[in-house]
């Protein structure tokens, strides 16, 4: 797509590590122009009419590629999508021309109450149909392909009839959407659901993956005193998650990877170091045949 804004940096997200953009770091980033591959923002934080958030994001967009990540569309809801919200997402896509656009396999709104959390769904045919219909609507309205992110989950449903990977693969097949592989979510969910995380990565359809997320989790305990991991985004990625990531990129090739850090936010140099640490793993990855497919998003 030819950019409508001649001042913008190329839209294409490079096969490098990007960083989740936080207002606390605007000035450091604009002052230092750090060697970061790209930035990602939560779409909902840029849905005000004007003001400093848009000014900073525009200035950063002029220097870096951008990825737009929605956190509130509620794609997994049984109820219809919020059309107004969908149109806001469309407008942001048009305004900032992001190289990637993603949302979650989750629901967050019910009867017009927004819970501001990524809530789980049962994996069965009814959910697959509903999620696929919603993704069709998103892609038709926004006019571009989206990536769907695998969730962190803490519970299961007796209604589920198929596995998470089968569910994601089926939805991607029906809608043509790509997948966002959150490796921290894989570790969190596999620990919490007593699945094997290495096996999960080994079975994941990497040819559909357009982006990877990395983050930190907080350890808790469940009803039986077993480990229950919380998707907290409040610390560096755990060594176990780094190891899973190395496994993922050995299969998928150098997929654009985001470092997410949303709570207990560190200063910019600390976050930048975390991005370099993850990028060392990414750049160490060999480029298998799947890489060309993965990057063609």
């Amino acid at each position: 797509m030819l950019s409508q804004n001649p001042d913008f940096h190329s839209s294409r997200i490079p096969s490098r590590v990007g960083v989740g953009l936080k207002p606390e770091h605007y000035k450091a980033i604009l002052g230092e122009s750090p060697d970061v591959g790209w930035f990602e923002v939560h779409a909902e934080n840029y849905m005000g009419a004007g003001g400093p958030p848009h000014r900073y994001l525009t200035a950063i967009r002029e220097r870096y590629p951008l990825s737009l990540h929605g956190v509130g569309l509620s794609i997994g809801a049984a109820h219809p999508l919020d059309r107004d919200h969908l149109l806001r997402l469309k407008a942001l896509n048009e305004r900032y021309e992001p190289g990637l656009f993603s949302e979650h396999l989750a629901w967050s709104t019910h009867d017009s109450v927004f819970f501001n959390d990524l809530l789980p769904i049962p994996y069965d045919e009814e959910s697959a149909r509903r999620v696929s219909d919603h993704i069709d609507e998103v892609q038709d309205t926004v006019g571009r392909r989206m990536l769907l992110e695998n969730p962190s989950t803490y519970v299961a449903f007796v209604e589920s009839t198929i596995g998470e990977i089968e569910f994601l693969t089926e939805v991607a097949k029906r809608t043509g959407c790509g997948l966002l592989l959150d490796v921290n979510n894989v570790h969190v969910s596999c620990t919490n659901q007593h699945w094997n995380a290495t096996d999960y990565i080994s079975r994941f359809p990497v040819e559909l993956v357009g982006e990877i997320h990395m983050a930190g989790y907080a350890p808790e305990e469940d009803d039986h005193g077993d480990p229950l991991l919380i998707d907290a985004h409040d610390r560096p990625a755990d060594p176990a998650v780094i190891a899973l990531y190395a496994h993922a990129v050995s299969r998928a090739g150098p997929v654009p990877t985001l470092v997410e850090w949303d709570n207990d936010l560190p200063d910019w140099p600390t976050l930048f170091e975390e991005a370099r640490r993850v990028e060392a793993v990414l750049l160490g990855a060999d480029t298998p045949e799947e890489a060309d497919v993965a990057l063609a998003v």
């Binding site: 934080n45 958030p53 000014r55 109820h79 109450v113 927004f114 501001n116 808790e220 009803d223």
Partner: protein, 262 residues
């Protein structure tokens, strides 16, 4: 019988909204059995995330009452008035009114107005951008036309009247200036506006609240001045206008159309 997706989510949502409702049936741990601690993660996530949103939007209120009190107050508000939009920039519009009716905060009668100031600050921060008129733009209006001039106010402009010194209290709690004695008997009406990148908070002079409200309602300068004078005998028209111009409060003006000839 297995439930529909709609029923699953209705049960899940009801239990999220009311801590007295047990976790929904069919929500299980990896062993297939009930898992209340696991479900509690979602309950906690919702309260913490929405509490964080309020804490970020009302920093001075948080500092005045302290972290623990604020969390408890926010939790009550979240359960009573959860957001109805995924755009959380808009969440907390009614939080000041909630604080006004929150019994444990009754000993801080200025707290609701400080919260109103913070809400107005946040709205101004995210409001549409517009270029304010300068003194030179307004100098071109012939004096005889001034009484009939109608002004468009900056989209970020908000007025928060108060019988408490809310600007002084707010500033003391959002900056590192050392606290000093506050005369709680002196009220401060606040004007909040973001003419460019920075939100400005100013004290409105006597009669200014009624005057600005009248301008915002589309009254001519002449009738707004009458309204300002009626509300406070100390009302100073030229001082008010000069203050509004220097704050960047005006973005456009027009002469009120002549009355139709019938």
């Amino acid at each position: 019988m297995l439930r529909s997706l709609s029923d699953v989510q209705a049960d899940f949502a009801a239990a999220l909204r009311d801590p007295a409702i047990p976790p929904p049936a069919g929500v299980v741990g990896p062993d297939g059995g009930p898992a209340p601690r696991r479900f509690a993660v979602y309950r906690n996530n919702v309260l913490v995330a929405l509490g964080n949103a309020l804490a970020g939007a009302f920093p001075a209120v948080g500092r005045i009452v302290g972290e623990e009190f604020f969390r408890a107050m926010a939790r009550n508000y979240v359960l009573e008035t959860p957001p109805t939009s995924p755009v959380l920039l808009d969440y907390g519009v009614t939080f000041p009114d909630f604080i006004a009716g929150f019994e444990p905060a009754a000993s801080l009668p200025y707290l609701p107005d400080v919260a109103r100031l913070e809400r107005a600050w946040r709205e101004a921060y995210h409001a549409a951008d517009a270029k304010p008129l300068g003194a030179a733009d307004l100098a071109g209006i012939p004096p005889e036309d001034l009484p009939d001039a109608v002004f468009s106010l900056h989209p970020s402009l908000r007025i928060v009247p108060s019988r408490f010194p809310i600007i002084t209290i707010w500033r003391m709690n959002v900056s590192d200036v050392p606290p000093s004695p506050v005369d709680f008997a002196v009220g401060e009406d606040a004007l909040i506006v973001r003419p460019d990148a920075e939100v400005e908070v100013r004290v409105v002079p006597p009669g200014g609240v009624a005057f600005v409200d009248a301008l915002a309602a589309g009254e001519t300068l002449g009738s707004a001045a009458v309204i300002g004078e009626a509300s406070d005998s100390r009302f100073d028209l030229s001082g008010n206008i000069a203050g509004l111009i220097s704050a960047g409060a005006f973005v456009d003006f027009r002469r009120q159309p002549e009355p139709a000839p019938w």
